[in-house]
Structures are given as C-alpha cells and as structure tokens.
Amino acid sequence: MRFLRLLLPLPLMLGISVQAQSPTYGLGRTPSAEEIRAWDISISPTGEELPAGSGSVGEGSQLYLEKACAGCHGTTGTGGPAPRLVKRDVGPDAGPWALGRVLPIRAPYATAVWDFINRGMPLYQEGTLSADEVYALTAYLLFLNDVVEEGTVLDAQSLPKVEMPNRDTWAPLPEWWRPGMSRLPSYPY
C-alpha cells in the first residue's frame, strides 16, 4: 500500500503541471488545429476527411492530358512505362481480381483511388493537385473502368458511395492477431 501511494501521484502531478507536453516525460508540444489539418492527408474508406470540392469525368479527361498523366500511363490509360490504369479485357464474367492490379478497378473503395492520386501523383510534382482536380481525375479513371457513368461528378459526399466491384471480395488483415501468436493458428508452418 505504501508503495502504491508513493508511485501514483508522480505521473498525475506531472500531467497537471505540463499540460502542453507529454504527461510522463514533459516532452513534445501540442500541435495547433491548423498544423494537424495541414498534415493530415489520410482518407478513411468512409471518406470523413475528404475536403470540399468536386470534379467531373469530363474535367478529368482534360486534366489527364494537361497534367501529363498520359505521358507515363498512355493516352488510353495503358501502353506507357508506368502502371496501367484500365482493367484488362478478360471477358464479361471475370471477377474483379482477374482484371489486373489496376488501382481504379481493384481498390475496394473509391477513396483509395482519390487518396493515391492526391498523395502520389503526378510524378515529380506530387502534392500539387487541387482537391477539385483529384475529384475530376478520380471520376475519369473510374469512368475508364466502367465503374461510373460519363456524366458523373464526384465530391466528398458521392465519392465514398461509389460501389467498387472489389468492395466485398478482399481479405482484411487478421484483427484476431495478438503478440505471441503464430501467424495462422492451425497452420503448422
């Protein structure tokens, strides 16, 4: 009991005295809401962090040429030195996994397409696209893969609602795993 009484107050006292820093060690500082907004480019599958703005398939087809996407990915989304952006032609009955490792068709959520264009494109000028441009390019790539209609306009509300063909046909990482467990109980290897 005496041991406990000695130990407990210490972190509590530190927590009260240095609120702007980490409670135990008093290091680091609290970022401003502005700083967090500027750095936080994560987009969840439900799309809660998506920014305001919108873009259409038509605008996206223009941007695809203007932003030099075509130079690496080919004018039709294939044939360039960079990964293809249109599904493979494997017949009407093929499941989504047969269509190739093509982001705008294999991604289970349209938010993942938006996220990658936003963070990783165009090559050498990553992070320069506006939200409107990313919505438009996403719409165009989804149109190229027959996921959305030609007249589609995407924004923060409509993008997470796009039904991707692979939405329910992927395997989540094992959430049952805990430290000290083998990678697949029942599998001896």
């Binding site: 980490s22 969840s44 990678r183």
Partner: protein
C-alpha cells in the same frame, strides 16, 4: 597460488621458445632476412580518417530485385536485394541492407533539425516531437530483421541474393511506439494506426493497435549510427517480424484511427483470401544456407563449415536442422551467438564433403513451434483442403541447393 604462478611462468617460457622456432622457419625463406610486407598501402586521407571504407578487394554489392531496374527509367529507386552469399554473422551492413520502396521513390534528403513527428487522431493529447526530443525519451536497442513480402524464391533464381536477398538484419535504436502512444493517450475505439512518411509518394501503412502497442520502434539509430537515408533517415518505424512495407521510412506522422484505412501501401498488398492475408502479415519461420549457395564453387572435397541464416516473425529461432541428402536425414545445426526475437540468427554445420553430388537444405523451427515447410509440404497442406496448389502468403519454404561433383552449387527448386 604460488604453484599456479610458476606454472604460468613455465608456460610463457615454453610459449616464447615455440613461437621463436616458428618465426625462425619463416624468416629463413626471406633472402633479406626480413619478412615481406604487404604489396601496397592505402594512402591515408582526411576522408578515410573521418569515415572508414572497406577494402577494394571486397566487392560485394546489392542488385536490383525481381527483374525491375533500380534506379528505373524515371530515376526512382525500386527494390534492391542484399548479397547474403557474402554475409557473415547476423548484422547486414547498413550500406548493404536491402531496400524496398512504396512505388519506387527518390530518397528524401531530410534536415533532422527541421524534421518532426506528429501523433494525432483518436488521442487525448496530440503531440509533435523534434528529433532532439525523441532522443531524450527512454530508448531501446534491438536486433531485428526486415523482410519484403516479395522475398519469394523461384527456380529461375541462381543465387541466394536472388532467392532471399530481400531480407536484412540490423541493430535498431529508438523509442518504443507504445511509449509515444501512451504519452498521446489512445482513446477507446482507436484500434488502428496509420503511419506515414515524407517521401514524394507519402507512403502510408495501416497497422493494428495490438502490434503498435507491443514492440514497434520509432528508430533513429541503425547499426551504431544514424539510420541511413535509404532506410528512412532521420526516422523510420520498425514493425518487428511483420512484412517489410509496414516499416514506414522517413516517418513524419502517426494517426490513431478506428479502422483499417486502405491507404495506398495497404491496397498494394491486398489479398483475396484471408489465410493469404494472415500468412503475409507476420513472417513465418524461415532459413537459408548462404554458404555453400547457388553460384558458388567448392574447391574440392574435404571439410566445410556450412553456414546460413534463420529467422521468424513469430519470435526467436529455437532450432535449425540441416540435411545434406536432400531431406532424407536431418541433423541439428549449431546456433552461433544469441537467437534474438525476430532477428536473423546465424547457424553453422560442420560438413565433410565426399565429392559426390548432394543436396543441402536447412529447416528452421521458432519458439512458437512453427516449422519451416518444404515447398511440397506447404502446397500439400492447401491442396488437401481443396485449395489451389501454391505456397500461400509470405513464402517461407525450404531452399534446396544442389552441389555437383565438380563443386558447383545450383538452385535445386524444381
């Protein structure tokens, strides 16, 4: 006491006499009466005094992995494999550590004075740390391997660098991620983190909180010095025993979230089958003989110390066995040094080669009791359950090397 001392004096006297005899023999060969020195010298320079360099006779280098050029046509670094055939001990030198990148990447040149790590999302206290502040926090130093999910041998590979070079092991120093997460105060429902780097593609990975709170390290040190730029300078995440892509380099941001975020790195490693997903996340027990290995040449029959590396994402290596007859009989190899959890472990086996064609293999068992399978065993396991005939998830199957009677060594995957 007295007798011991006189014994020692006796030994020293005799030792000196013996050494003298040996030296005389050698001197007799030199006409000038002096021992021959080395043929050449390495000129001392300020640069070499400041930071040493390996011998020009040592030429072991990394190579692009998987048939994709690195740097590629865009000048991006892609996957690069470590020369395990030349490795000794368990540490991969930082300059030879394998490298993987999210999409192919330029290596960022980051000023550590300006670098920050932000922890935010579902936490009570969002925090930003400078590098200096991170180094003031309690640290850990641990040996850990990192292995790429693409480290998969096939029969076309010639050398162990091609079959297994996308794994490496280093001594990592940094702050436990759990220390930082506890300081930030994870809120109820914060079951995942998204870890993100600052490279041009801003690579990010989703990691389950159970792993994040267990043994992940936010590393600033590697093999006794700062983490190398290709490995994430000034800061990289280490996710011990899990597939390589989760070990986010150039780490800038950790966001605590409520779900798997399906960020680009996650999408790239998406699986269709849940067993595949599980077997790809944590690395299974694995080993490979590095000497003799594919492409090497044995000079003739006689004694050899067979040597190799074993590791497992499930914990420490408990046992390594070796066969010299293609798997008919197995004997225990010796584990050299300490078998650290989720670290390369060196094993050796004393072998008298009779000059006949034979097949060498090694088999690892980890502390969880999981055993490295042969390719046939792994495939049989799934086909017996009506599944496609392939090794699922991260391929941890046994690597066979065939030694021919002329001493040449070949990949024996059929």
């Amino acid at each position: 006491m007295g007798s011991k001392r006189s014994d020692r004096r006796e030994f020293l006297k005799r030792g000196v006499a013996l050494a003298g005899g040996v030296t005389l023999g050698a001197v007799a060969k030199s006409a000038s009466g002096q021992l021959e020195g080395p043929e050449a010298f390495i000129q001392g320079t300020d640069e070499l005094v400041g930071y040493g360099k390996r011998s020009s006779y040592v030429t072991s280098v990394r190579i692009p992995h998987g048939g994709r050029a690195s740097p590629d046509t865009f000048g991006l670094d892609f996957h690069i494999a470590a020369p395990l055939q030349d490795s000794v001990g368990v540490i991969t030198p930082s300059s030879l550590h394998y490298m993987g990148t999210t999409r192919g990447s330029f290596v960022p040149d980051i000023d550590p004075e300006k670098h920050r790590l932000m922890i935010h999302g579902m936490v009570d206290n969002p925090l930003v740390f400078t590098m200096e502040e991170l180094k003031r926090l309690p640290s850990v130093t641990r040996m850990h391997f990192i292995e790429c999910a693409g480290n998969r041998a096939n029969r076309r590979h010639r050398t162990v660098q091609e079959t297994h070079g996308m794994t490496s092991c280093a001594e990592w120093t940094g702050v436990l991620l759990s220390t930082l997460l506890k300081e930030a105060g994870v809120q109820d429902g914060g079951d995942w983190i998204v870890a993100e780097g600052v490279e041009n593609v801003v690579g990010a990975s989703s990691i389950h909180m159970a792993k994040a709170m267990d043994d992940c390290i936010v590393c600033y040190g590697m093999n006794g010095e700062a983490v190398r730029p290709q490995q994430g300078f000034p800061l990289r995440l280490l996710v011990p025993g899990f597939e390589g892509i989760l070990n986010v380099k150039w780490l800038r941001r950790i966001k605590v979230v409520d779900q798997f975020y399906m960020t680009y790195n996650d999408y790239g490693h998406l699986r269709q089958d849940s067993d595949d997903a599980a077997l790809g996340m944590q690395i299974g027990p694995k080993s490979v003989i590095t000497y003799p290995s594919g492409g090497q040449q044995l000079p003739g029959r006689g004694f050899y110390e067979v040597s190799g590396l074993a590791w497992s994402g499930g914990g420490a290596v408990a046992r390594v066995e070796v066969t010299t007859d293609g798997g008919r009989s197995w004997v225990d190899a010796e584990i050299r040094g300490t078998a650290h959890p989720m670290a390369h472990t060196r094993f050796t086996f004393n072998w008298e080669w009779d000059g006949q064609e034979c097949e060498l293999q090694s088999r690892c068992t980890d502390v969880l009791g999981s055993v490295q399978p042969s390719r046939v065993q792994a495939i049989e396991y799934w086909t017996q359950r009506g599944q496609p005939a392939r090794v699922k998830g991260q391929d941890n199957s046994i690597q066979p090397w065939r030694v021919e009677s002329d001493g040449s060594v070949h990949n024996a995957i059929s």
